[in-house]
């Protein structure tokens, strides 16, 4: 009888506190899994066997594939910067400073951040959906069953390719942005080519270029690892793949913007001894 009575008593409903605790535990576990994936991806990227053809293929997809949107966006960002700043500089009669502003803003901040966001939108989503589809169709399990480490075959090539391609994409973004800025300066503010480019180059110090070229390595790592993590942890079939794709873009974009702030602080501290 006692056991029958116990069976009839409904299980207690989970309290709000248990929901919160479970939620925190899930997040912490996700952070732990992501950290492990990052460590293993790094280890696989530097130890044999290295899948060079896969890395080259991913470099083509990520680097060459992202080039059109990076160039187009960079060109218009450069132009819009001049349009926005020119209105202010005209008030003070300092339109010659346009080259300085465009160059500093693009190289130090806008180039890495916007390129990072563009690559996250295009490639983190692509990685999440591709790997997620492989997970739900058991292709990743099949790979493991045939003696291949998915971390080496799938994750490491994507991480290496993204980390190597990002600085090149940022350099192209900066260059095209400056060209866009120059064209608008030339046709609307009547600033000569020599004046614009001289000021643009002189405004930059080595630390600015170093900062602008160091960030993309980190952003590339974030984009690839977040995309791969979201893809490899897909649950729930095709609906789960869709969720992972969205999550990959959101998480990668937020991580890029948050880490950009801290990287900038560190870079300024290293360059001048002060973060402000």
């Amino acid at each position: 009888m006692a056991s029958t009575d116990r069976d009839l008593i409904p299980a207690p409903e989970p309290s709000a506190l248990s929901f919160v605790v479970e939620g925190i535990k899930d997040r912490l576990l996700a952070v732990q899994d992501y950290t492990l994936l990052c460590c293993r991806a790094l280890a696989c990227a530097f130890t044999p066997p290295i899948y060079v053809p896969d890395t080259l293929e991913q470099s083509d997809i990520i680097g060459v594939g992202s080039l059109p949107i990076v160039l187009l966006t960079g060109f218009f960002i450069g132009m819009v910067m001049v349009v926005q700043t020119a209105a202010q500089f005209v008030r003070f009669g300092e339109t010659s400073l346009t080259g300085d502003v465009v160059s500093l803003a693009l190289v130090r901040e806008l180039g890495p951040a916007i390129t990072g966001l563009l690559v996250a939108g295009r490639n983190a989503s692509g990685m999440a959906s591709e790997l997620g589809s492989m997970v739900v169709t058991e292709q990743v399990d099949a790979m493991r069953a045939m003696g291949t480490d998915p971390m080496r075959k799938l994750v490491a090539p994507r991480v290496t390719a993204t980390v190597l391609m990002m600085p090149l994409l940022v350099a192209m973004f900066d260059l095209v942005g400056l060209i866009g800025g120059f064209l608008i300066s030339y046709f609307t503010l009547r600033i000569g080519a020599v004046e614009f480019w001289t000021r643009a180059f002189n405004a930059l110090q080595l630390s600015d270029v170093a900062q602008g070229m160091a960030k993309p390595f980190f952003f590339g790592f974030v984009v690839a690892t977040v995309g791969c993590y979201q893809g490899l942890t897909v649950r729930g079939g095709t609906q789960g793949v869709g969720r992972a794709t969205t999550q990959a873009v959101v998480v990668a974009s937020v991580l890029i913007l948050v880490s950009d702030f801290f990287l900038t602080k560190v870079a300024l501290f290293l360059a001048g001894g002060k973060a402000f």
Binding site: T137, E138, Q139, D141, A142, M143, R144, A145, M146, G147, T148, D149
Partner: protein
């Protein structure tokens, strides 16, 4: 009745070079695969609650049971794709639970796994899919090509070598999956519902392939299925290598092939024994299970 579809078999398939090699006599009594009080637990609860089984050399162990009883999980445990929460899974004498993922990756090359939906790499051609493991092992390209054609000929799909998996039917994809698992000639084959969702004729082709592998190559295997006709087909028929066709497994050819059934229920082995014992069982659950499975 259960073997009726096997009797109406299609024309015999071309032989593998290995078919000419007679099966070697069994020289060891050590099990190839053994589960010792294996438990498996996920967030939603314990799925396997103490599995004990042994698969002897050249034996075929057929796992049957209702859906979500853990048939696929047992195969994945045997392949080292999952680790038990408790207990030991030993394959070829190695305790898979104590091996690192790196050791398991190398070890899994001894095992061929046929996944339920084929799990072919959809961005690669059939030829590349079948050649995958050989290329990973660094086999010479000419030898790889020859082996790929050989196993594709075995599953009668040599003409699909340059096609993508999306261009194949469900049954063809399943056969390519078997060819892929066979390419490196593993001593153990694990089949996860290889005939699920296929029409009877295609299912019969797949079962014939499995019979050939068992009876001409001496492969030890585990097969999870919910189709009892396939399970009894494996038990009641054998592949006659010299005649290159499926024949009833009668006493004149060495008796019944070593095939044993396992019925899973609620995370435990409910029945383990010969097909005839299952068929003649008076247990109510087994009787109702047999009736439902036939329907």
């Amino acid at each position: 009745m259960l073997g009726a579809s096997i009797r109406n078999q299609p024309p015999p398939t071309p032989p593998l070079p290995g078919d000419r090699r007679p099966p070697e006599p069994v020289v060891t009594a050590e099990p190839v695969i053994s589960f010792e009080d294996v438990h498996l637990e996920f967030d939603e609860g314990e799925i396997l609650r103490g599995i004990n089984l042994q698969v002897m050399p050249r034996e075929t162990k057929v796992l049957v049971g209702e859906t979500r009883t853990g048939k696929t999980l047992i195969l994945k445990l045997a392949a080292g794709l999952l680790k038990p929460s408790a207990g030991h899974v030993r394959v070829l004498g190695s305790d898979l639970g104590s091996m690192s993922e790196l050791e398991l990756l190398a070890f899994r090359r001894e095992i061929g796994f046929v996944f339920q939906e084929g799990a072919l790499f959809d961005s690669q051609t059939v030829g590349d899919n079948v050649a995958y493991r050989l290329m990973e092992e660094g086999v010479d390209p000419d030898e790889t090509e020859a082996r790929v054609r050989e196993v594709l000929r075995f599953v009668e799909l040599e003409d699909t070598i340059d096609k993508l998996p999306s261009e194949l039917s469900g049954g063809m994809r399943r056969r390519v999956s078997i060819a892929r698992a066979l390419a490196s000639r593993p001593p153990i084959m694990l089949y996860d519902s290889p005939t699920a969702g296929l029409d009877p004729v295609t299912s019969q082709t797949i079962i014939t392939l499995i019979l050939r592998l068992r009876d001409t190559q001496g492969v030890t295997s585990m097969l999870a299925t919910h189709r009892l006709q396939d399970a009894f087909g494996l038990a009641n028929y054998r592949f006659d290598g010299p005649r290159n066709r499926v024949v009833p497994a009668d006493a004149t050819h060495g008796g019944q092939p070593a095939t044993e059934f396992l019925v899973l229920r609620d995370g435990l082995i409910y029945f383990q024994g010969q097909p005839e014992q299952l068929r003649n069982s008076r247990d109510d659950y087994l009787k109702s299970f047999l009736v439902e499975a036939r329907e």
